[in-house]
Amino acid sequence: MAADIKHPHLRFLTRLYKTAFEQTLSLKASFILRVLFMIVNNLIMLIGWFAVFGTFKTINGWTFSDFMFMTGLVVTSFSIWSIFFRGAGIYTARLIEYGELDTYLLAPKNILLHTLCSQTDPAGFGDLLSGIILLTASGLVSFGNVGILLFCLIVGATLFVSLNIFLGSLNFYTADSTDFGERLFYLFLNITGYPGCIYGGTAKLILISLLPAGLISILPVEQMHHANATTLVWMFCIAALALIGSVLFFYAGLKRYASGNKIGGKL
């Protein structure tokens, strides 16, 4: 099937994903275990919030439905990164740290695309399933706003990928930044774990611009209730800027890359 695709990048990506998925599915028991446990893991967290919403009923105007939608969106966006672009982030950071990027540099393919798409995480499928369940159960999605939902998912996934390209590339500039980058990623995740409605004023402004976690956790819920074209354009611009910025950051860093002396091969 991959051989029928004319575009060289698409053909390459199809083959890369095929190999990555076959590798993941080769350990069936581990795959099923990770998918199931990830679903349970996401639901446990929701039970805690269900109890909190049971106490407070609404949090700054948000109901449990809104929170379910937000969590569903975060988890689904995360899963797109996790399934298709898992190579961005810690994986890239480690390649740089151990001087193992050489094998990618030697391949006659786009290096960023190659590293991004060469990894997949089975737990991502669990996130994807639980995300779809949460989005459906939230009751906020209808035929009228499914387009906005898809737009928000693309924005969310773009942000996760951009952030991981950026954090993974930190090792080009300063050595031993893998753990630092990982912590910053958790920071982003932690912010998106709380209902977006708790942020107001300056905090909200920062979260929808400089540290755009609010593009996943604040604005989508508002857009599902009352869509606003200006806000959607703003979301698109910030996500596009984040992606372009992170790609430029990666290539600027690549010029500083010092090759390792480890002998190895990569398919």
Binding site: S30, G48, A51, T55, D176, L184
Partner: protein, 261 residues
């Protein structure tokens, strides 16, 4: 005993060398405290049975955050690699208990991270709440040793997850569940009093409640009786988890010798 102190000292020295990692944790802690503060500014105005003030709430969560950020990362992953690669066969030959070794590593790391996180966290909270102090700040000298007990219990739990690789082949899924148990049932995300009564009681009966809420809530609910209950409950669960770990390790040792390492 001296060899375990040496392990702790080595782990602590290693932490002092990894300042960048510690700085990242401080940034994360600062943002988390700001998030907690924002959360309380919204929900704190509503009347509930949660029975906690804003400053108590943030201090409570600071102690929970210290337990989260104070532990060494990837402990279960390293044990899993040792079990999978057979490297554990060589570790067994060392004249120290494998479980004790891993726990001392955690405690050594915590020795460095606890004061840094506590002082920085107190400064940030002071900035956020105009210098207000929690109701029972005087209980801090009692809480700090108990936090070490909590860290020991959490480390024993993580070692158990790592050793479970023997049966599960992949310890990560179990780690996710336990981590969420710590957040939800341990009250590291919210005070357990936010929950309905049945869930509150259930959480208290778990090791998560013993390692988390029972200790961290002393910052605003201190009585000598509460502190004693927290210490005894911790002692109970530490004993249970030590027993379980040794049992699992005993099975592992037999398997390793059967398979030849």
């Amino acid at each position: 005993m001296r060899k375990y102190v040496t392990i702790m000292r080595t782990a602590a020295a290693e932490q002092l060398l990894r300042m960048k990692s510690l700085m990242a944790r401080l940034v994360l802690l600062a943002v988390m405290l700001a998030v907690f503060n924002a959360f309380w500014n919204v929900v704190g105005t509503e009347k509930t049975n949660a029975d906690i003030s804003a400053v108590n709430f943030i201090w409570y969560l600071l102690l929970g955050a210290i337990l989260q950020f104070g532990r060494p990362e990837g402990l279960h992953r390293r044990i899993e690699e040792d079990v999978r690669s057979g490297n554990i066969a060589y570790l067994m030959m060392r004249p120290v208990s494998f479980i004790g070794y891993k726990c001392c590593e955690s405690l050594g790391t915590f020795c460095v991270r606890l004061p840094v996180l506590l002082i920085a966290g107190a400064g940030i909270i002071s900035f956020l709440t105009n210098g207000a102090l929690p109701s029972d700040i005087k209980a801090l000298p009692v809480i700090i040793p108990l936090l070490f007990g909590s860290m020991l219990l959490l480390s024993l739990g993580t070692v158990f997850i790592g050793l479970s690789t023997l049966y599960l082949q992949d310890s990560l899924p179990l780690f996710w569940l336990v981590q969420k148990g710590e957040y939800i049932l341990g009250g590291l995300f919210f005070p357990l009093t936010f929950y309905p009564d049945a869930l509150f009681r259930f959480a208290l009966a778990t090791p998560f409640g013993a390692a988390g809420y029972r200790v961290t809530s002393l910052i605003y609910h201190y009585t000598p009786e509460n502190a004693l209950t927290a210490a005894l409950t911790l002692g109970f669960w530490i004993t249970v988890m030590t027993g379980l770990n040794h049992f699992l390790f005993y099975i592992l040792k037999r398997k390793v010798s059967v398979n030849g390492g």
